[in-house]
Symmetry: C2
Subunit: 394 residues, 2 copies
């Protein structure tokens, strides 16, 4: 309990927080849960009126020879982070292998390089952040290279060779062997749904818990929120698994309000996210080209490069922006941006546009705040939208 | 011609640019203009098919005893800026009086202080940027004081005493006299409409040229664009005079397209603007409380302070945000923000919301990109909107 202690919960809100108590079973008919007091090794059944499942997700681990070595890490919570930092402080590893190409993998490449660790990132796809648009991923690849990260593509992990101390010394792929002093597996997360499933709680096609817009599951008086459950994507109009902290936070508040007798609704998300890798800001909202096509949209796109502020202002940087829109209606379906300045906070402007189902023609007419330290008279968003409008007219 | 030379205009677009040619009269019936070739002192009449009036605005000058002294400056264009810089370089003034409290006055306070000039700003209102919300202006006042600017309020300018060299040495108000080495008058602008008015072009109640949404004036084949004309405010649904560079730019493109036979429309603005004063970013969109009330809205507002990013991230700063909304419907009417980081680029998100007539309840539900270097899980916009929703329910 980092942000707030159990004592604070008690004093501020009269909430009993039981730490070191593991719930092992849900008896939905009896409306009770089985709880193990880990300190005393005692079991007991606790009854409930309303049940909230917030079991989160866990890091996915590749099951390979040697993958239980003690210097193979995953990163999901604060404890994971502390374990990694302590290992680096104690063992002073000189090299690391990062498996995966998502934003956890990328952020950790930066962290390793800041500690002067030789970093090899192994990616199944041929570009990092491979679920983003190709042009965005290419900029990320470039940033990795400029910061001395060795990007290795299309390697299939085969296993780990360990020393007598139980530590990985060699990482083997289907193509070659690499001597490394530590490994980070950053190959995604798996929702913690086993106990819920056993209790008869329905899962969605993503494998996460299915809820309705009030965060209620199929079981009476039983709610779910956070990384263990699905969320509705307002653009694709489909339930997806998007385990992100801000979504979990919002779902939790809705579930809590409803469990307490309220009538809150969580309408869903458009898919906004941002991360930083070295000096590069990356931000996305809505659907990417491929996903939009999978959902049956007839997709067109427009990519531009522009200055983040008026070119003569100190600190102005080139940024790349891609708009993904419906070929006929011009409705904006998604946007992705990358650059070293003024990127992440621009994306929310287009998140609103996507929420509102705006067309690129309407976006091109928006009145934005212009001042040279922050933007050119035509903001990159307006430039991109105007170019997109020209494609619509063709 | 700074951004592009007459030669470039000719080569790139076959446009003849006549520098040092002053238009002195419009003969709308004869469809011709009187032009003076300033170099040769020759007059001629030039006929036109379509006429575009882009005469801009000029700085307002207070007509006071001594106000023609050569060290009293205004700031509208590049030449004005060069004149001020040259004067400072040559004369090394130790003190300056700035008359006015708008964003030109404030930006110039920063410029003067950077040159170590003792700066006194004289403001009729009791706060700088007095047309903004009081809470925002108070932050600006604080920033001025922290940067050594002497803010003097409720002084009525009386006149200037000059030396034998024709330079101001004393600035007198109704309350006191101040020894100064230079003066900047930054008391607003006046649209250059005299010639247009004489030719029978209709002016709006603001005194600027009245146009329709195609930028056409009341005279046939005659368009106007930029600081000389009005613009439609989409929130107040009224024609206003908002002389800002990005608006001028957009109006010019619409007027040009229509003069060339196209069918472009400029729908109007919501009133977005931003400026920087020392380390402070200030950004606004929509209507302020007073103006909204004048237009008959039943106004409520919500003010919050929040961190610009997650508090533990380096560089996170407190920011202040005020939402102005309709008391009954909750529709967002305006937003103003101030802070040292992450302010200006947040305002456009709310500019879109205002364009779309969104309510604070809808804004509170938006899915924004969350990443600690850029924002807390709940962006300040979401926090402010949620607080506003609570007021609606009362």
């Amino acid at each position: 309990m980092v942000v707030r202690t159990p004592q604070q919960f008690k004093e501020m809100q009269d909430i009993d927080v039981k730490t070191e108590h593991q719930v092992t079973k849900i008896d939905s008919k009896g409306k009770r849960i089985e709880v193990v007091d880990l300190a005393r090794s005692e079991n007991q059944w606790v009854s409930y009126d309303k049940l909230m499942i917030a079991t989160g997700a866990r890091s996915r681990r590749l099951n390979l020879p040697g993958s239980d070595a003690k210097n193979i890490f995953t990163l999901k919570d604060l404890q994971d982070g502390l374990r990694i930092r302590n290992y680096i402080d104690e063992k002073r590893p000189e090299s690391a292998a990062v498996l995966g190409g998502g934003f956890i993998a990328l952020e950790m490449c930066e962290a390793f390089r800041l500690r002067n660790i030789e970093t090899h990132i192994f990616c199944r796809r041929n570009l990092p952040a491979g679920n983003l648009e190709r042009e965005i991923s290419e900029k990320i690849l470039n940033e990795l290279k400029e910061n001395g990260v060795d990007f290795l593509t299309e390697h299939e992990p085969a296993g780990f060779k360990t020393n007598s101390n139980g530590e990985v010394t060699i990482f083997e792929t289907d193509k070659a062997s690499y001597q490394v002093d530590m490994v980070l597996m950053a190959v995604g997360v798996v929702p913690n749904v086993e106990m819920a499933k056993e209790a008869g709680i329905e899962l969605g096609k993503t494998g996460a818990i299915k809820t309705d817009f009030t965060q209620m599951t199929n079981l009476v008086d039983t709610y779910a929120a956070g990384d263990c459950c699905e969320v509705f994507n307002l653009v694709s109009q489909d339930w997806v698994h998007t385990p992100l902290g801000d979504i979990a936070n919002k779902q939790g508040r809705v579930a809590g309000e409803n469990a307490a007798g309220g009538k809150a609704v969580f309408h869903g998300v458009v898919g906004s996210a941002a991360f930083k890798v070295f000096e590069l800001e990356v931000a996305i909202t809505g659907l990417g080209t491929q996903v939009a096509q999978q959902y049956g949209f007839d997709v067109n796109s427009q990519i531009i490069e522009a200055e983040s502020k008026v070119g003569y202002m100190p600190g102005s940087k080139r940024m790349l922006m891609k708009l993904i829109f419906d070929r006929r209606s011009g409705r904006l379906l998604g946007a992705q941006m990358v650059g070293k300045e003024g990127v992440a906070r621009r994306i929310n402007t287009l998140a609103v546009a996507i929420h509102q189902k705006m067309g690129v023609d309407e976006i091109a007419k928006l009145d934005f705040a212009y001042a040279p330290p922050f933007s050119a008279p035509f903001d990159p968003i307006l430039i991109a939208a105007e170019q997109a409008v020209k494609k619509l007219r063709q």
